[in-house]
Symmetry: C2
Subunit: 328 residues, 2 copies
DNA sequence: GTGAAAGCGCTAACAA
DNA sequence: TTGTTAGCGCTTTCAC
């Protein structure tokens, strides 16, 4: 069904149908009603492509994510949809499964699909990204990583967050504090959080022990293994373990329980994230709450300001919150 | 940048550019190379709308979800993206936040956006849905609810699943088995699972006790409250609690622990879902594993078959798996 | 108030 | 091998 066919049925011209649909220009009341009736009956819907082609505006934004089935992604997207929906925008979703190649593909694909803007939830930002994003010439916001001037970004202050948590643990007497991180190619989570941990030690005049630091890979299992390594490689056992993510914190706790220790009595454990997990796990995990939904909302607002050619902040920091619970 | 401009730069016609881009028809090697170079330099991307307008095919499918930030949704979508990506399709996302109104809006919006097919992850299917879906005239697959012939659907056998779990608990001696369900307007989860529970009791000649049944609302807190009610309203305490969802099972366990009971020693508790939660919670939750990713994959395959006008099953059941863990 | 016609960027049939 | 041309379905002047 096209606008032409509707026009024929209504005994009028396409222009009039367009006026009715978009509530633009004058249409006699009877004509309008007749047209509306026909639209209702036929279930006619205007072709958004033809419209977009003409108006050079798709009312769609693209969202690129490393992993849609992660609770942080879900929360971020839910924040984005909330704002986009209000603004009358649709969302085109790109799930990269952590593949950089796919990330690039989606960037290009979204350009073809004429999205009015892009939100890139990133894990790594390379020179290649910069080149491509520059060529793209589409409003773009980066979430989760510092953008080095490529585009406005929405981030958590990873270093400050880790510092806060490490400092809290040290203050509560866990001076022998071990750390479970992730690879530093992820600058924000890998680099930032580790830096915060180190800074807190320094500030408290505690000597950094290499043997107290291990890397995991975001999973519960990797947290378990990292904790095991720390435990087995040190005769001088730590009093506390600070894991970069809640999942890894759970892995660590599981290891400690498995070798017969009590958390937090024997060893305190903390994480970062503050999602569902930390709230209902036993013991409840002392963690930093990262409001991913808020970061989604903020990034969408930023993007729409960009689309509307308003001035925007180049770097928005979403504050974190220390949640003192049972595990530390 | 349009195909015309590229043609001008390359000193050739739009048709030739189109041939190069789509690898269709003959193009002299030198011309092809020159065109490719210009495309590379300018970062030109063909306008997908113009193409779609011509071909009457958007290479996009719409996915409508009640709540994107739920782990089942994330898994379902990840399954869908996996297949869609392989097929060269993009995904338009509709997050309804459980609003029926929005569900209808997305259905219409997606029609305007010319999607080639729609996957509707549903909680409730009404007559209104039927009317609209019929008018839509777009290939559509329903996930999570029986579709009553409206469209092909992908479901779990909720009744059988609940029956299996209830039977398992009864067999392991928990004849006094209470049940935490959800409202039956959700036919699959609310109706189906409750029916399975009842069936298992009947099969084992156990009298149904109304006081042993309470409804929650999918959340941990509601599970806690439902369990509390069951506990307080019955002098003859149940030996086991079967919650319709893992979250509610956790709520129930939390309540039992709070009043000083041991799970599973004093009371056994089980759930349904089998996601992240059940695996890492202490005690690990005895549950039914629902493979949401698989249901996403299957629904996408079904949809593409529908789009390709192949014969498809009207009802695909994704099998569940009983995971015997610590809580029961 | 309404209609005719041009044009958005692309593809595909047809000619050359 | 390549170019010309006619739309795809819609919006938007510009006439009437």
């Amino acid at each position: 069904m096209t606008i032409k066919e509707v026009a024929k049925l209504a005994g009028t011209s396409p222009a009039t149908i367009s006026r009715v649909i978009n509530n633009s220009g004058y249409v006699k009341k009877e004509v309008r009603e007749k047209v509306e009736k026909i639209i209702e009956e036929t279930g006619y819907r205007p072709n958004a492509f033809a419209k977009a082609l003409h108006q050079k505006k798709s009312s769609t934004i693209g969202v690129i994510l490393p992993k849609i089935n992660a609770s942080s992604s879900g929360d971020t997207v839910s924040g984005i949809t909330e704002i986009a929906s209000k603004k009358g925008y649709s969302i085109l979703l790109g799930n990269t499964s952590h593949s950089q190649e796919k990330e690039i593909e989606f960037l290009n694909l979204f350009k073809e699909k004429q999205v009015d803007g892009i939100i890139l939830v990133a894990t790594i930002i390379t020179e290649r990204h910069k080149t491509i994003i520059d060529k793209l010439n589409i409003p773009l916001v980066i979430v989760g990583q510092d953008s080095k001037g490529i585009a406005p970004c929405v981030v958590f202050d990873e270093e400050k967050a880790a510092y806060d948590m490490a400092a809290y643990m040290i203050e509560s007497g866990k001076e022998k504090l071990a750390f479970i991180g992730v690879d530093e190619s992820d600058i924000a989570v890998g680099g930032g959080r580790k830096a915060g941990y180190k800074k807190a030690l320094k500030k408290n005049n505690i000597l950094l022990k290499k043997e107290y630091i291990e890397n995991g890979a975001f999973t519960v299992e990797s947290g378990y293994e990292a904790c095991k390594k720390i435990w087995e490689n040190n005769n001088n056992k730590p009093q506390g373990i600070f894991a970069s993510t809640d999942k890894m914190a759970i892995g660590a706790i599981n290891y400690l329980l498995d070798i017969g220790l009590d958390v937090p009595k024997d060893v305190a454990v903390s994480g970062i994230g503050g999602g569902f997990l930390s709230k209902y796990y036993k013991p409840k995990i002392t963690t930093l709450f990262y409001d991913y939904k808020k970061s989604g909302i903020k990034s969408a607002k930023l993007l729409f300001d960009l689309i509307d050619k308003k001035e925007v902040e180049q770097r928005v920091v979403i504050e974190h919150k220390l949640i003192k619970q049972e595990s530390a």
